[in-house]
Structure formats: structure tokens, C-alpha cells
Amino acid sequence: MVTVRLKPVEEIVKSLKPYRKVFVIGCQLGSGRCKNGGLREAFKVAGYLELHGFKISGVKSPGGTCILERLDSSDRSLIKEAESSSDAILSLACGAGTQLIAENVSIPVVTGVNTLFIGVERERKYFDEYCIACGECVISETGGICPVARCPKSLVNGPCGGAIAGKCEVDPSIPCIWYRIENRLRELCSLETLKKRVPLKDYRASVYPRRLVLED
């Protein structure tokens, strides 16, 4: 999922200053899962905005904000409702969802979150970045563990010389991912795959903006 972090409410208030009526949209996918921009947080922020003199014209979540038909369909259009009732929309969806809202309404859209990374969730508490969407996946060779995303230097030929006692040089509170890769490949009896030199990455696969088109 895409993880986000709620901006400080003071910052949100500041960016909404020119407007009076605000519609708050949360997102139940990434933002909701990481408890930084779901419906619950949307209501919380709305309450705070009311205290600061804003008029809240609505607080809703379409579920997945980055899916256009959830925002705008023939029987129910969240964005039309928001647009017709407000001076501005405050979106707590990730950068993608917020942009999709913005390009479909004629009123200003303000973001209330900083979009962080593609990660996994554990115990409803820990969120770790697992993928940087590099477009050229290597994890079949590395025991299903991505060194591109999970090593700060994105090293693909093995650990750096700063990997001491199983810890990462950049952040000693996290493990050097190459220890995990080695252990995993030992379990799978396929350490051999690490012996060949990994060629340079083709970064054309991650030149943005990217597009995926499904075949009919």
C-alpha cells in the first residue's frame, strides 16, 4: 500500500486560509490503513478546522480515492457533491488520489498529508518500505527480498563495507538486508544465484511519469 503521514494541523489550517467552506475527503486504502488519512482522521481534522472557523460542508471517503469510478459514477458522485458545496477540498488521500480529485473538480484541492512510500503493514503499527517501483524487479534472485528498496544504497551485488554486525551503516536500527537475503537463500539452498555479477540497472524502466495500459 501507499503510506502517508498527516501534515501538522497548523500547516493544513495555513494552506486552507483563503477558503471558508471545506469538504474533507479521506481514503480508506493506504491513508486509512496507516491511520493518517482515513475517515477517522478526516473527521478529526474536520473538527479541528471547525474550531478554527472553517465551515465543514462534508466529510467522506470513497474507499479508494485513486479509482475514478469511486469518486465519480453515474449513481453517486462524491466529487460533484464536494465541489458544489465547498470553496475547497481537503484531501487526505495519497498524492495520486489527491491529484485525481483535483483534475476532476474546478475548485482548489489542498493536501493534508505527505505521501511516503509503498510499504507493508504489520500489527497495525509498523509500516516498512518494501518497494520503490523501480520497474525491473530482482526479487526472484534475492529470495523475495528487495535490496533495491531495502538497502539505502540499492546495492544489487552484495552488502557494502559498512554492514557491521548485521546492522545497516545508514541506520543501525535496521538490519542490513543482505543478512536476510543470505539467510533466506540458505534456507532455499540457492545461494548460487548470488554468485553471478548483477549488471547495471536499466533505469528507463523507472523514468516517470509511467503508464500501464491493459490489453483489451
Partner: protein, 293 residues
Amino acid sequence: MEFREKLESGQFLITVEVAPPRGVSWEETISALKPLKGKVDAFNVTDCQRSMVRMSALSMAKLLLDSGYEPILQLTCRDRNRIALQSDLLGAWTLGIRNLCLMTGDFTTLGDQPDAKPVFDVDSVQLIEIAEKLNSGRLLNGKELNGKTSFLIGAVHNPFAGPEFLQTLKLKKKIEAGARFVQTQPVYELKIAEEVHSLISSLGAVPLIGLLPIKSLKMANFMKRLNPTSIPPSLIDGLERAKDPVLYGWEYTLDLARAVSEFGAGVHFMLVGKVRELADFIDELRNNRREGP
């Protein structure tokens, strides 16, 4: 005789690290090396070590060359993509720089500009491949150069890093990719020096054992934080007892250097201070070796 010839003829090698100045005045950095002229075989010019901005290593290497010192240009993957790396390497060759030491480099957030965007387009193994490719007269994309380079390529190895299996594998990859010599992180025990020496030699490169004199307990603790297993308790003990820790640390390192010279291919001093003492030591070392069996 050039560094390459000495290396190829199996001479005992002594290299020393030189950090470019933080600023634009370079004369002092070079004049400080004077006692080492003709004694040290090559000078490693560091590339913004510990991710702190210093004068370009390429410029400093050229200044060294012009002043009669043979440089080894260090180049890291932190600040340049493959285009900039190839470009700098071609520029270095053109300016007369013949030796390289290629490495991943410290991460940006560890330095004094932690807000910088790190590059790491390639890794150390791939950077060695790139330099080898230029040596074959071609760019990475296969395009022919109007003349080839003939760099002597070196790499680095930290005997204290892990996981050991993968560190060894990576070292092997570096050597297979074209590294002819390997400089190690500072070592403080003869046993480790012997082990890493034999590992690097067995993989087909010339090992230069890294030496960095410890000046104080504070420095020992700092080194311990970097590589916890590198500092033996006896060294800490000795520093605690020593009336003059600087002298103790210095002599400790020289003893190790003497021991390495008995079996080793070379040493790499990671210091700039104490150049006069180092020069005297090198004289002593070379004289003893000559007189030896």
C-alpha cells in the same frame, strides 16, 4: 618506476591517503607530503570521504601529479551516475591519472550535507566493470572511444563487515571485474592482517593492509563504533596505560606494519599527519627488508 610496475613486479608497496582540502588552498596539503616524496609509492586521493564536501579528488590528484607524487584516484558511486563516472574517468586518464580505487562510498546522510540526493546509480562492482570497459576502448554502451584508457584498478574490502560469505563473494566479484589491488579497512591485529591478506591474494589481487594509528581512547572508541571487532582489548588496555597514547598508537601501528612487511604485499596508511615519522619508518622498513633474507 610507476605504481603499476612496482605492483606487477611484486615490490612491497606503501600507499598513503590524502584528503583534498576543504576549500581552495591546496598548496599546504601538498607541501605537507614533502617528507614522503620518493618513499611512498602512491597517494590515495579521497572522494569527499564521509560524505563531506572537499575539493574534487580529480583536481587534487592532478595537483599531486604535477607536484611529482603518483596519485590513486578514489571514486565513489554516491555522487555520480554512469554518465558522470565515465566522463570523470576519461578526464582523469587524459590528465595523466593512471590508478583508481573504486568503491560504493559512504551514504549522504552520514555527512554534513545530509539533505543531498544520493545517486548510487551503479555499485562498486559495476564501477570496476565500467573502468575495465574504458580500458578496452569502449564506453559502457559499447561505443568506441578515440583511444583507450589503461587504468590500474583497485578496490576496497572491510574484513570486519558482514555477512562474511557475501562480503567474500563481493570481493571476488570486484577482482573478477578487474580490481588488481585491494586496500583494506584499518586492521589492528596481525592474525586478521594475515587472514585478509591470504583471502585477497587467493582471489587474485594484491592486498594492501589498511593501517590507521589510534591517537587516543576516544578515537579507539570511535573506530570501535565503526567496526566493533576491529579493536582488540589489548590495544584499548595499552592506550589506557600509556603515558603518551599518541606515541603508543603510532608504535602499535608501526609494529603491525613491520609484521605485515614480513609476509605481505603492502600497506596502506590512512593518515596524513606525522609524515616525517612515517618517512623515517619507511626508510627503516625498506632498509630492513633489503638486508633481510
